[in-house]
Symmetry: C2
Subunit: 497 residues, 2 copies
Amino acid sequence: MPHASYKRLEEWFRRISALTDAGAILQWDLATMMPKGGARGRADQLAVLKALRHSLLCSLEVAQLLDAAGADVSLDDWQRANLEEMRRAHVLASAVGQPEVEALSRASSACEAAWRDARAESDFSIVRPSLEALVPLVRATAEARAKALGLDPYDALLEEYEPGGRAAEIDPIFARLGEALPPLLTAVLERQAEAGPPPEFRGPFPIEAQRRLAVQFMERLGFDFHHGRLDVSLHPFCGGTPDDVRITTRYDEQDFRPALMGVLHETGHALYERGLPREWRGLPVADARGMVLHESQSLLIEMQVCRSRAFLAFAAPLIRATFGGSGPAWEAEALYRHYARVEPGLIRVNADEVTYPAHVILRYRLEKALLAGTLKVADLPGAWAEGMRDLLGITPPDDRSGCLQDIHWYDGAFGYFPTYTLGAIAAAQLFDAACRAEPGLTEGIAAGEFAPLITWLRTHVHSQGSSKSTREILIAATGRPLDAEAFVTHLERRYLG
Amino acid sequence: MPHASYKRLEEWFRRISALTDAGAILQWDLATMMPKGGARGRADQLAVLKALRHSLLCSLEVAQLLDAAGADVSLDDWQRANLEEMRRAHVLASAVGQPEVEALSRASSACEAAWRDARAESDFSIVRPSLEALVPLVRATAEARAKALGLDPYDALLEEYEPGGRAAEIDPIFARLGEALPPLLTAVLERQAEAGPPPEFRGPFPIEAQRRLAVQFMERLGFDFHHGRLDVSLHPFCGGTPDDVRITTRYDEQDFRPALMGVLHETGHALYERGLPREWRGLPVADARGMVLHESQSLLIEMQVCRSRAFLAFAAPLIRATFGGSGPAWEAEALYRHYARVEPGLIRVNADEVTYPAHVILRYRLEKALLAGTLKVADLPGAWAEGMRDLLGITPPDDRSGCLQDIHWYDGAFGYFPTYTLGAIAAAQLFDAACRAEPGLTEGIAAGEFAPLITWLRTHVHSQGSSKSTREILIAATGRPLDAEAFVTHLERRYLG
């Protein structure tokens, strides 16, 4: 009875999904609610959930059921896609043996801890031995997965964050950005220098008022507080589950603008999670497709929509009403100029959308070289400084603002960085397609009407879940696979238009 | 290598404990933070954690390791106690087969849902069929456990909440209360009628101020916010884990007194959890001994300490300072009289400590009769009304204020009720012993010095974990097993002294 096998797999994967969801809520709690003294116990809880999830995923029973269900001709398209995602998850998890998984996990934890010290001291040499121990384990994982999946090692790592992602498709896109962005940046900086800085205002802006404003925009965009929350954490994120989406921000009493835009960014992630296909909840086919589309949804809301003149024309009066502000600094145009400020800097997370790709391209190059062994860990700080000089013309004065700034790598995450910029590019391509498909979209945004856009995203992206590949979803939604053209056009229009 | 078996068991049970702890945090989140739309997913998460925990506990590997470790002569006292607790948990969980566990779980969920409707409608007939389906399953569980443990069926149910609890020990204690309390209640009510009601004050009392005051007392009592939190939930509880203790309360803007005493009650639970033996964390021997000692710790703090004249003399000035109150209603004596108010009522959770035991004795009789089959579910409302008339001289006008008031039974919990009153009795006996052992304790409390009391409780109760039985802990701490004498003396002194 092949269909019985498929049904058994559904049950099995629903249990795995419940464990994943439990871990997501515990992770959210750790970042928002947990007293510091709970850290040790929480690490144990998360580790046990992860290990149980892994052993359920790799079990012999799953392997046998996958074989049996593969012969099931009665499956419809979504069931077949679901089965493929189950197989993918099983193969990915089974590619590496339990001892290797544990060794990598231990080395990552040790390296992450050393990185915290190293960053505090701004001294790469503190973390160097740990990273030297970690990189070969990551490489071994990449090679084991590459063998199981029939991929290049780097692509096998990408597969964890962006299923179907391939360096061969990333390279030409990043090459195009490498050509287009430097002259664009020069032109933007000249233009900005001519215009002078936008008018400034001064705080304080009470946190309760900032929160109220953020909630107002979240609701307007369609965030459903019956199925979600907004809280505070040191590093903003979107967590939880599709039926219980939890986004966070951090407030600065002296400037409401970063938290506001941060919340709008996370709201983009949240709308994606919430829009995943409800009838397939708890099954792999209902998961978010990957980090490229996830990041595209947050950046579409933040960069394409909320930093636009249209949105800020709608937002400015609400912002003024919230804080009781008046004068030129509170006009939509001043907010727009603030949010469109471009400035090459050393820190990725503070970068604007014109310079952000350079940060990613640097990391993409370096992580590939580290894994290939053509760059030694010991040479990382030098290679970093050289890359920053080449790409943005600035040199980090210390390790903290250089190769120690990001947690990735030190916690074992290689193959993650490209998804940020691929997401920005996908955001531009999707928004461009939405504007073509729905005339009057921009005018609607200026009037605070987001339903046509959100409905389009639900239909073409969110509700697709993992039923198709990122490439297929993009082709169906925009008429072509991912390329940098819409993104470059967007940057030219916004910053030089 | 028998010692290797013991060590393997420790690893195994640490994983089980991590799952339990994960569930505790998710349960806390459900009650305090979760948006309503997360309910369905959360139920799945908790069910999967529970099932995994159960299968780890019942596994053949555990059974084999328990056998091997049983022969290990190298174990010290605590290791041996730990092993016994592991065996107890394994036997208790294994006594009932997986299909029976699931049937009971499903019937409990269905009955609980029906109870919510029945209570809303105040109509027992709505839940009757579900309870009629549930009781035989509870009985079958009790019988299966009784067989595995060599106990009477009711004792086998007690075993889940109060290991070592026996009806044969409860009966004489409840009989003594049945004799002593009715004349005492009559005398107290006469005394109160003569004195008239205490002076009253009016709110509102801002919630933020109530919370600040509660936190002040919590800290004073030794609650460690580095390892715990105070939040809001509909039904106050103490949850979380020993290193991350989470208590809740609910605030009434018109009266600060219920929330304040509620927080102090939960703080008693929290101090117990926090004081469990740290070096054995994650192992059964470090678990709270049972519900009797747990309830004794909350009631010791609430009833013995915080409703006393000594404590309220210390508390009154802080309360006045918090709310800016003045006048007779704000004096310590008025607060004392408020908190010592006795009034027979229909609702257990609103009962004072003089009438509370009657509520418990009624439920104890009825649940034993339901399980023995001498009381039919259909006859429950009538038996309830009759019992209330006998015990407290009042008759519920409807099912809502009668047999539908508590969730217990309807969610499958039989054998739980007696622990409330046994806890109150143990609280009196322990506090009496502490006062004898530490002269000046009461004077210290009046000065806000709680360290001597908390240290005594840590030493004699908290840090014992489950290394001994409740009976052994009580004998070591107070010189005798549980009896009602200290409790009766306490009531006489407080209400007639």
